[in-house]
């Protein structure tokens, strides 16, 4: 809880420490699909006739089970090259289409009983805004901003959807996610390239597949898979609530006990992700022709969240970036090899990566930019960094930290994300740890992580539209 009385609002959210890294091949995308399903209502919200609604869901599942049997055959046809895909309706078997027609009848019957998007409507008419959620490799986060007098409504709604969720409209929501996938990945110039770039990078940790999932998996996830996933990961011991804003903490504690203590603790703790990233043995490279300006992306394997080297790596990323950083100065302004530069150290829960990327100036060979980046890194490995640069990076990180405290919503998100990656306390501790980083530390991490075999290089050049 963070009490702030500057406006009569409360930013409230919770994180379930589950993301796509907890999936396995076959159900990739389920953590995110699940996030969508959590807006479909509960036993008492979303249907005029909850009893009949549940019956319909059972009947739907029976048909779906038959459809899945049929899909197994269709998948086999696809593997043998008898059909080109499982997306176009013509490629599905007559039996499947017949079952689908039956299924659609049940959907129509259910629709008559639905109170459409009632969960969102209740929040909306309470003056709640920003109702939404997101899923990453590590976490699923649900949040909303409420008028201060609606605190108890949040307690009611969120405990209710964790306690009694009903996954209505499961299969049409799968279609929504397929549209989301087209929107963000398939129908964009570099969406598929970045997806495969990520798949190339990770050697063993379960970050290899995209958060939104592979289309084949998305289209075969069943409601039973979702039920099992929910039972394993949406247990109180895996969930943290965060409230920021205009409230009385005692009142929050009283209401939280009242509403959330009724949710039974999960019988077993969610399993740990035991796979540790295997050290790379060779440099990897991707050359892609795409509809984009020429650009380069380099990723190095580094360290996960709160690793002792993560602070020196963050300082290094900060002093390399920005308009006065070494890379921009040299590559964009002095030598004019690139039009823009980006640098980031991303420590996730199970593993981390350091990224340097650049849009290459027209006519410059990409390898020349690559070499120029390595030269700057080599000089840091040899000579370290200046005290002045180090202090500049610390000042920037400090100001960034303060900016995150400017509004309730930001504070809430920062706490939820830190908690999702491992521990909310890092919000307070990280800053001290950054301040004690020395030039020697920066030099040492540069020497440790910027090794050839530790990197993946992607070079993207413009595809000639006539080809």
């Amino acid at each position: 809880m963070v009490e702030r009385h500057n406006a009569p609002r409360i930013a409230a959210g919770w994180v379930a420490k589950v993301g796509s890294a907890n999936e396995r091949p076959g159900i990739t995308g389920i953590a995110h699909l699940f996030e969508h399903m959590m807006f479909k209502g509960t036993r008492s919200i979303g249907s005029k006739n909850p009893k009949r609604d549940l019956q319909i869901i059972t009947e739907q599942e029976a048909i779906r089970e038959q459809m899945r049997q049929e899909e197994r055959k269709i998948r086999e046809m696809l593997r043998r090259g008898e059909i080109p895909d499982m997306i176009n309706p013509e490629n599905m078997t007559p039996r499947w289409r017949e079952l689908n027609a039956k299924f659609q009848k049940l959907v129509e019957e259910q629709r008559k009983l639905l109170v459409k998007n009632e969960f969102s409507k209740i929040y909306s008419e309470a003056g709640a805004t920003q109702l939404n959620a997101f899923t990453t490799e590590d976490m699923t986060v649900y949040f909303v901003s409420l008028p201060a007098n609606k605190l108890e409504l949040w307690m009611w709604m969120e405990s209710e959807r964790i306690l009694h969720p009903v996954f209505r409209e499961f299969y049409s929501e799968r279609e929504v996610v397929m549209e989301e996938r087209r929107l963000r990945v398939e129908a964009t110039p570099l969406g598929r390239h970045y997806e495969q770039f990520g798949a190339m990078f990770w050697n063993s940790v379960p970050y290899k597949w995209p958060v939104i999932g592979w289309p084949s998996d998305l289209l075969s996830i069943s409601k039973a898979d979702a039920d099992e996933f929910f039972a394993t990961y949406y247990t109180p011991q895996n969930i943290t609530l965060v409230l920021v804003g205009d409230f009385n903490p005692r009142e929050v504690e009283r209401l939280t006990r009242k509403y959330f203590e009724r949710i039974p603790r999960g019988k077993i703790d969610p399993p740990d992700v035991v796979t540790i990233e295997m050290p790379s043995v060779a440099e990897k490279r991707m050359y892609a022709q795409a509809e984009c300006n020429p650009q380069i992306e380099i990723l190095w394997h580094t360290v996960p969240f709160a690793h002792k080297d993560s602070y020196a790596l963050s300082i290094l990323a900060t002093l390399l970036s920005g308009p006065s950083g070494r890379l921009h100065r040299k590559l964009v302004l002095k030598d004019q090899l690139a039009t823009s530069i980006w640098v980031n150290q991303a420590s996730q829960r199970w593993a981390g990566a350091f990224n340097i990327g650049a849009e290459i100036r027209d006519g410059i060979p990409p390898e020349k930019v690559e070499e120029a980046i390595y030269e700057i890194l080599e000089s840091i490995k040899r000579e370290g960094v200046q005290e002045y640069e180090l202090q500049k990076a610390k000042n920037k990180l400090l100001a960034t930290q303060y900016r995150k405290l400017e509004d309730n919503f930001q504070i809430m998100l920062t706490l939820l994300i830190h908690e999702g990656q491992g521990n909310w306390r890092e919000v307070n501790e990280r800053f001290q740890k950054l301040q004690v980083v020395t030039s020697d530390d920066v030099q040492r991490v540069a020497q440790t992580y910027f090794k050839r075999e530790n990197r993946l290089v992607g070079i993207f050049t413009r595809k000639n539209p006539d080809n």
């Binding site: 007098n149 109180p236 939280t256």
Partner: protein, 503 residues
């Protein structure tokens, strides 16, 4: 400017509530309607309490909040793109960019980059069709330095030739991407259809117009418009109001040149005739936009009814009718919404509906949208829907004004657009004006805004697949508007001239 080393302590302390497992749920009601809430009578902030006029010209909005040691200063300038000559399209934007990237008479661009970075500040600019902005976000202990720097940037920019060259090259290289993403094609063509290709709202720079711009043009444009009488200033965060007013007065006094009052922007736009405008691009999702020539501008007698109508129809996020039909019922789109921009008191902006769906369900999605249009034009919305929309629009007001920066910049933009001058009680009366709207007001305004006789449809996507349709739905793309299909060719990204088709 002095540069000092900084050391700070982080002030926050957070407490995590851990959950225990006992049960105590006897008094939990079955439905949320049974919960009782204390009334919350929210009054939006009053612009007049935050508004100051400086002797040197600018209007200033101040919102003090000393909880976090950060100050945000935004200077809004009446120097938008509508003021640039058409043969130099891009001049307003380049001027704004080079203010921040091009150095000053006292400091080189490199020195400014260094200062800003060392102080942990964020210095940004933006340029829109009606006005431009320069913003500085900085730790409050550097406030004096910050104001000096802003004065330097705004009054005595150097527009360094070397930086201008780099920026021009970057802008031209960015143009190469104009056809890469179907969403860029859609936004561009939508503007051309709604405003004509040559209006100040829709026109875009080409390689030729950017190459033609010289340092001299930047200097002239700057000296015409960037002077204090054309500034509206929004300052929020950690300061003392009486002190900062004196500082701002100094900052804007004895400006080195006298500029001009900008003319009003022209408002004679050409709306394209009804048809299905189609840009072919080989992607597996069609981007669809329905555009109608709405006649409601900001301040219209039906202003509040229109806000409510749009909310119920398609503007209301996860609860709108469009969302229910197209997304939840049929899973045809991830994003589907309507957009009504009631922002300009001078002219109305078109009403728009947007969605993206897989190529073969394009016609089906359009059918659902047109059914919903018919529905809201024919039948009154239910009292329950009306009430829900009102509760939302009233309840979210406290969110719109929840940070000091949000308050200051909302008021500054009201001032710039002339909304404040037309009705300084807009926010004060907002709640009662929303309350007053009836279901028949909503019906009347729906008939006025959703003008299907003049609607046009823009689709960017895989034409053969879109035309092929889907066997489950008996509907074709030509069933809508006039049924007339107009193929729009792709445009050369550097000249924007149509690319001739190659067979």
């Amino acid at each position: 400017m002095k540069i000092r080393m900084l050391t700070f302590r982080l002030l926050t302390c957070c407490i995590l509530l851990t959950l225990c497992t006992t049960t105590n749920s006897a008094s939990i009601p079955k439905r949320p309607e049974q919960l009782k809430f204390k009334p919350l009578n929210y009054t939006p902030p009053d612009p007049l309490k935050h508004r100051f006029t400086l002797k040197s010209g600018p209007t200033v909005y101040l919102v003090q909040d000393n909880t976090i040691p950060i100050v945000q200063i935004t200077i809004f300038v009446k120097a938008g793109e509508y003021l640039e000559p058409t043969n130099l399209t891009g001049l307003a934007e380049l001027t704004s960019t080079l203010l921040v990237e091009g150095g000053t008479s006292k400091h080189s661009a490199d020195e400014i980059d260094e200062m800003v970075d060392f102080l942990g500040a964020i210095l940004t600019c933006s340029c829109g069709s009606l006005y431009s902005t320069v913003s500085l976000n900085i730790l409050s202990q550097h406030l004096t330095n910050a104001l000096e720097l802003l004065r330097e940037i705004l009054a005595t920019p150097a527009f360094q030739e070397d930086r201008l060259k780099i920026v021009k090259q970057r802008v031209i290289q960015e143009m190469a991407q104009r056809n890469d993403n179907s969403s860029s094609i859609e936004s561009r063509e939508a503007m051309f259809l709604a405003y004509g290709t040559n209006s100040w709202v829709s026109r875009l720079p080409t390689r030729q117009t950017i190459e033609a711009i010289t340092q001299d043009d930047l200097i002239k444009f700057h000296q015409h418009w960037y002077w204090p009488s054309n500034f509206v200033v929004a300052v929020s965060g950690d300061f003392q109001s009486n002190q900062i007013l004196a500082m701002l007065e100094v900052m804007f006094s004895s400006w080195p040149f006298r500029g001009e009052q900008p003319p009003l922007p022209p408002t004679n736009f050409t709306f394209a005739p009804p048809a299905i405008y189609m840009v072919h691009k080989q992607v597996n999702q069609a981007r669809v936009r329905i555009i109608m020539p709405n006649s409601i501008k900001w301040g219209d007698p039906e202003h509040f009814a229109a806000i409510i109508m749009n909310h119920i129809f398609g503007g209301g996020g996860l609860t709108s009718r469009l969302f229910n039909r197209v997304r939840s019922d049929e899973g045809l789109a991830y994003s589907v919404y309507s957009y009504l921009a009631l922002v300009d008191p001078l002219f109305p902006r078109p009403f728009e509906i947007s969605l993206q769906t897989k190529s073969r369900t394009t016609a089906r999605a359009l059918a659902l949208v047109f059914e919903e249009i018919e529905e809201i034009r024919k039948r009154s919305v239910s009292n329950e829907e009306l009430q829900r929309a009102k509760e939302y629009l009233i309840g979210r007001l406290s969110d719109a004004f929840s940070t000091p920066h949000a308050i200051a910049s909302t008021f500054a933009q009201d001032e710039l657009s002339g909304r404040f001058q037309l009705n300084s009680n807009y926010w004060k009366d907002y709640i009662s004006n929303i309350q007053r709207v009836t279901a028949s007001d909503v019906l009347n305004v729906a008939k006025r805004v959703l003008d299907t006789n003049h609607a046009l449809i823009l689709i960017v996507g895989d034409k053969p697949e879109i035309f092929r349709g889907h066997p489950d739905y008996n509907v074709h793309i030509t069933n809508f508007v006039s049924g007339r299909v107009v193929d729009l060719p792709l445009r050369d990204p550097f000249t924007l001239l149509p690319i001739p088709e190659t067979k």
